[in-house]
């Protein structure tokens, strides 16, 4: 299968691994990843204000391109996924916003929310299937205890994101189990890491991040897995005693294709 892919700016700079291993894993799993042309930064956060139009146009542009190609739009960075998915939801459910956004865009065919946004985790679960992954993995992660860290952006608002039960998700735990490792369920997995507030109030972010890493360690986890570069940054910055890895990198390791970075 072929999907349109929106990497996002962080994946081209500080989070190259997240992008690199996504492409590698997709290749092994038979998914053709086609990076959309001329994508622009999603803006990092979705603005909930109804009068903010311009800040959402880069998402609309990416969505339109996927729609035009008749492909699903694949994301992996939690922030990009959240912004694009929320924008798509707003286009579909807020006629006024849709009209104004399309007015700005002046495309041949107005965008009405036709494209489907899928996160890499959803691609694994719904398109490839965890059973297929289970068949392909090596025993590289055997005996590893891994805590999934979802953060906020993948899950909330649950009504829009629809990735999983926003309060008791299981998609990452199921993947960890399919990769041959043991999932560690930390109650802090959907608590916020501090996010962008780290720039304004580093202490606040530290408090949030360390609560997450401390609990993962107490629960016996060897490492934490995440899909978000900012979560990884916050968790690593405030506690170096437990490794935080990207979900794509972990999957590559499980599939035995991590060499040649």
């Amino acid at each position: 299968m072929k999907v349109s892919y929106y990497p996002g700016c962080t994946l081209k700079t500080k989070a190259k691994d997240l992008d690199f291993y996504l492409r590698k894993c997709a290749g092994v799993l038979g998914v053709e990843v086609e990076e959309i042309e001329n994508w622009q930064c999603c803006g990092g956060v979705f603005t909930t204000a109804s009068d903010e139009i311009a800040t959402k146009l880069s998402s609309v542009r990416a969505l339109s391109e996927a729609r035009d190609k008749g492909q699903k739009l694949l994301t992996v960075c939690s922030a990009c996924h959240n912004v694009i998915k929320q924008t798509n939801y707003q286009i579909k459910n807020d006629a006024d916003f849709a009209a104004r956004a399309n007015n700005y865009m002046q495309q041949d065919v107005p965008y009405e929310g036709e494209a489907e946004v899928v996160h890499f985790l959803e691609l694994l679960r719904d398109e490839i299937g965890f059973d297929a992954i289970r068949e392909k993995v090596t025993d590289a992660l055997k005996d590893k205890k891994i805590a999934a860290y979802y953060g906020c952006l993948l899950l909330r608002p649950g009504k829009v994101m629809q990735l999983d039960d926003a309060e008791n998700p299981s998609i990452m735990e199921e993947l960890i189990e399919a990769m041959g490792a043991t999932p560690v369920v930390s109650p802090y997995r959907n608590e916020c890491c501090g996010g962008y507030v780290v720039l304004d109030d580093a202490k606040s972010a530290e408090k949030k991040s360390t609560a997450i890493t401390e609990n993962a360690k107490t629960m016996g986890a060897d490492m934490i897995v995440t899909a978000c570069p900012l979560c990884k940054y916050n968790l690593e910055k405030h506690d170096q005693s437990i490794p935080v890895v990207y979900v794509t990198e972990l999957l590559a390791e499980a599939l035995g294709i991590k060499e040649g970075v």
Partner: protein, 664 residues
Amino acid sequence: MQRVGVFVCWCGSNIAATVDVKAVAEALKAEPGVVFSTDYQYMCSQAGQDMIKEAIREHQLTGVVICSCSPRMHEATFRKTAESAGINPYMVEIANIREQCSWVHKDIPTGTEKAIILGRAAIAKVSLNAPLTPGESPVTKRALVIGGGIAGIQTALDIADAGFPVDIVEKKPTIGGKMAQIDKTFPTLDCAACILTPKMVDVAQNDKIRIFSYSEVEAVSGFVGNFDVKIKKKARFVDETKCTGCGLCTEKCPQKKVPNDFNLGMDMKRAIYIPFAQAVPKVATIEADYCNMLKNGKCGVCAKVCTAGAIDYKQQDEIIEEKYGAIVVATGFNPISMEKFDEFAYNQSKDVITSLEFERLTNAAGPTAGKLLRPSDGKHPETIVFVQCVGSRCDACNEKGKEYCSKICCMYTAKHAMLTRDKYPDTDVYVFYIDVRTPGKNFDEFYRRAVEEYGVHYIKGMVGKILPEGDKLKVRASDLIENKQINIDADLVVLAAAIEPDKSARPLATMLTASMDTNDFFTEAHPKLRPVESPTAGVFLSGACQGPKDIPETVSQAGAAASKVIGLLAKDKLLGNPCVAGSDEMMCNGCSSCERVCPYGAISYLDKEFRMPDRTTKVRRVAQVNEAVCQGCGACTVACPSGAMDLKGFKNNQILAEVDAICR
């Protein structure tokens, strides 16, 4: 030509403040057929009615138009008035100039104009009215009660007490319902079993009452006084007539891993079981999905040990058909699923439980023999947090919860908190509340005792998140009075889950053609004046199936429903509604349109021989209305493409005459 009299009511100032009643009476005097027109302050009063009677006699009226409140209020009153003055009660028409006019308009000119138009329409209709006589139908003097909880039990006992036979259909193997699972009752703290089980025994011993336990209503047809009901007795694989309830089978059954629904899955039962010691009927039941003998033919221990020879692995579901004059719905409630409220970690920790589970944990017959031990490790909890309003009072768009207040939670939580502090004074008990709602006799006093005498910490605020960490539950909540966020390390958290109608209620409502609200609670015929009757004649409501209720309220409603049933069954004959549909056979083309839209199944088809003008005969398919079943809704008259179907009292030409009068 009819001789019509018009009577315009002031309804005190209800109508007269916005409608110039004298002008209305004057204007309507000019309508064709009107020979008398007047106004009066209270037409429904004795003086008003006497005035109507006198006018009927004096002016030899053949039709009467009352311009007053809704026909739902006083149509019956004025029909009786007319009848006592010697004219057919169906020669009375009501023009609703209150609900449909004075209450919705603000100024007198508009109100007066509309009142005149409404009056004109009623006069046009009554001019085409014909006297109608209701048919009679017999009454089957037996009642059916669906649901064997405290509501159904009380209703059945009261009906039986009046001498009428009653059947209770209960889907579980025993009657008793939720009350049987409860430990103590508020606000008196008497033991639920001690007050319930004698009533259960009364039911069992009453020769007027039959219990169909482990049974469900399968189909209902007929109408008030004459319901035909099919009841499915599910196979319990035990012959009820032989089983003595000795319990030997349960003791010897090797299948010990059956989740015990009576204890809400907190412990295990055997594959053959009696739900609890005081069950009625005290008869064993086999859980077919778990029984080795039924699954693969390997076991048979219960049959071997049963000295009464009651075990019957070949037992089949059985259908019982019975006639009833009245049906009482008492299907009760359940706590909603906590599946979608995992910010409270219900699915993540065994020590987050619902209030009903807490009842079982404190009940001497429960999984811990009444010792308050937490489910995860059996330790005594030292800090307990109660969370109120979980899933109640949610926004209408909230997919997880309910919009209504569940009504019983404030009081049972106060009870749980108080009993815990009483039995285990070393325990810290916190209750998070939004409001404490205690509008019942001795209710607020009870709640205050929990706070003042028992030292329960009531905190105004809501729990936002529960994080299970190690063997503690970290409760993060707000304290709105102190304006701070608080964190409590709890050992046990109890969620006051919203309650909802039992899932069986919706399909049952369809079978009964009884209406429900959007929450699947049964609707009453009138929220104030007919609270225990369904709008469907002959169907009555008892207990929480109609709305959240505590035990005293349920018992009073159960008694009220019983008295309505007794009133019905005491009659030998019922007068029907003469405003029923009828088909003109000469015009009917047998197309079935009317049959398809009839919600009551009142229309059937008949192949009938007709003599043709050329003296030959021809067989044609024509519609026939069962007048006893027809409720007069008129759907068929709208659906009929050939105009053959008409509704007595609301004939097509009458309706058109009204429209013409309005548009004139």
